[in-house]
Subunit: 340 residues, 2 copies
């Protein structure tokens, strides 16, 4: 495939505070050529996730690797089609989930790629409900939150890629599921379409009384994606021996100074467990996650919502919006056609 052109989005500047689209730069370059043992992947879908804000900063990411240098391609999860392959384990036409970044083509040695069968589930689920966000919900809720039937599980960013799975898993485990989200439409969606018992719009008024009303028996598990005011309100309602899987702190990802956290008196008094976690530490649970969640998905008991924007060039603006809560469901960039 001579003269195949790549499109890439590079990190151009490191944001102070909220990122701007101008922190990114779209460039066209010749597509890379796969060497021995390598394959060429054509990006179909790019995942946009809140953790990427941290990857724009200087230094090392908390998963261990170095953040992208200025002028290099932004990192991100992808669904791709194998175009050419010098690797016996992959054939052209196969679909793979990987980590090819914000670009239209990438070469890979095959490590870390997972084949997807589009007859099992739509390809996009590999970035959401059956991908990293779904597995984050699975290990965070089940392994750290350890919900018991009859308990109350609250999750923030409830309509998002992780939160929407948390609430549905809570229901599957016999719990009361209560969401917190940023609009009436999101709240209505998680209750009507996803089956949560209740959802509180944190922008509609004082949060604590609304959350208290939605949790008449208090909170046993608070799965936190946002930190800040929602965490502070949830902490005032925790029951004894409550668990708080700390998955994200979206409310402070753009902060330039470390903001204070919640008062910890309820953690002491109620013997609460707070545990920060990151899904990549729990890859031993991937097989369980895929088996269980794929089954629940196929049985119609695990639903998902996607917010798909079209074109790699839309990624920067969509990412800025993600940190503001503008997306509705799992945010995905459609970079290419499934069947070109």
């Amino acid at each position: 495939m001579p003269n195949l052109m790549n499109r890439q989005i590079l990190l151009r500047s490191r944001p102070k505070g909220e990122p701007r689209p101008s922190d990114f730069e779209l460039v066209e370059t010749p597509a890379p050529v796969p060497g021995e043992g390598e394959l060429l992947c054509r990006t179909i879908y790019l995942s946009l996730d809140p953790y990427m804000r941290g990857r724009m900063d200087e230094g090392r990411s908390y998963t261990g690797g170095m953040n992208p240098a200025l002028g290099t391609v932004m990192v991100g999860g992808t669904i791709s089609e194998v175009i050419t392959s010098n690797n016996a384990q992959f054939r052209p036409g196969e679909f793979v989930q990987g980590f090819n970044g914000w670009q239209a083509y990438a070469v890979s040695k095959g490590a870390g790629l997972r084949k997807l069968d589009p007859r099992q589930a739509p390809l996009t689920t590999g970035l959401g409900v059956l991908g990293m966000p779904g597995m984050t919900a699975y290990v965070g809720l089940l392994d750290i939150g350890r919900p018991k039937p009859g308990e109350t599980v609250v999750v923030s960013a409830a309509s998002g890629a992780v939160g929407s799975v948390v609430g549905q898993l809570a229901k599957l485990k016999g719990c009361r599921a209560v969401g917190v989200a940023g609009s009436e439409a999101k709240c209505e969606h998680v209750v009507r379409a996803l089956g949560f018992d209740a959802c509180v719009n944190y922008k509609a008024g004082p949060l604590r009384p609304a959350l208290q009303k939605a949790c008449p028996d208090g909170i046993d598990v608070y799965f936190d994606n946002v930190g800040g005011d929602v965490l502070a309100a949830a902490l005032t309602l925790v029951n004894q021996n409550a668990r708080i899987p700390l998955c994200g702190l979206i409310s402070q990802y753009n902060a330039t100074e470390p903001p204070p956290g919640p008062n910890l008196r309820p953690v002491l008094v109620n013997r609460v467990l707070i545990q920060g976690f990151i899904v990549s530490d729990h890859l031993d649970r991937q097989a369980d996650f895929l088996r269980e969640c794929t089954r629940w998905y196929r049985e119609g008991r695990l639903k998902y919502t996607e917010d798909v924007v079209t074109g790699l060039e839309s990624a920067p603006e969509a990412f800025v919006g993600l940190l503001r809560g503008r997306n509705f469901g799992k945010l995905i960039v459609k970079v290419g056609e499934e069947r070109p």
Copy 2:
């Protein structure tokens, strides 16, 4: 024993903020008379502990019982001599550790009393290193902190009843033990007498750089007794998978408004576990604690410091001082003579 007079300290008013000696009242009343199955105890030692500040407030304590009503005796752990007994399990002259409160005499049905053998260890150790504070250190450090050899364990209020045991247990487990305390004398004591590797005086200057210097390999376990600035500084130095047994928040016990807590970003990034706990949830570990810590004590590997004030009437002032960190070691009120 006709006409035996009791001396009691009653809770007279509920403090707003810092308690004052005038929140207590010393009264003389006839000593109670033991009924069927009961015994009369003469208080020798009364334990003063920071948790008592919470018991002065209105409502229910976080261990479940109601706080003392105004005009009733303050609660507290005690070492007593059995004076008369209508209970076959206790004989006059025996020593018991119990929860008889701030008074010179009390009747008991025997429930919750533990006999002490003064030949095994001094009676006062039943309120400190071999009592509730020691067991708090034991379960908090070993069961929640789970220190591994070579790790760094930091403990605040390091010269106090709990902290001094935490650091010594950390050394017994092969860890680097670093204390945080409020004076040079306390710091010197925990290093020289108790064998900590280092101790930082949080009043001597900026805490974080001093703590960082004392913890060149970061912090793996932070056993927190105080909250506030010390917790915030420790959180900036935690290693991946650090554990924070949250034992107390002395710095905010007198607060009239809930103060903010620490920034939780390091908890997320480093997958930290914070767990509030209270020793009374862990009574299944009492036999292990007594067996191990008594042996270590008798081998000279577990030392203790006491700050003994004399006379029940000294308790209010001593308690106010405890919350200000004026004590040096386990604070005990000597209410009566061991052998009158």
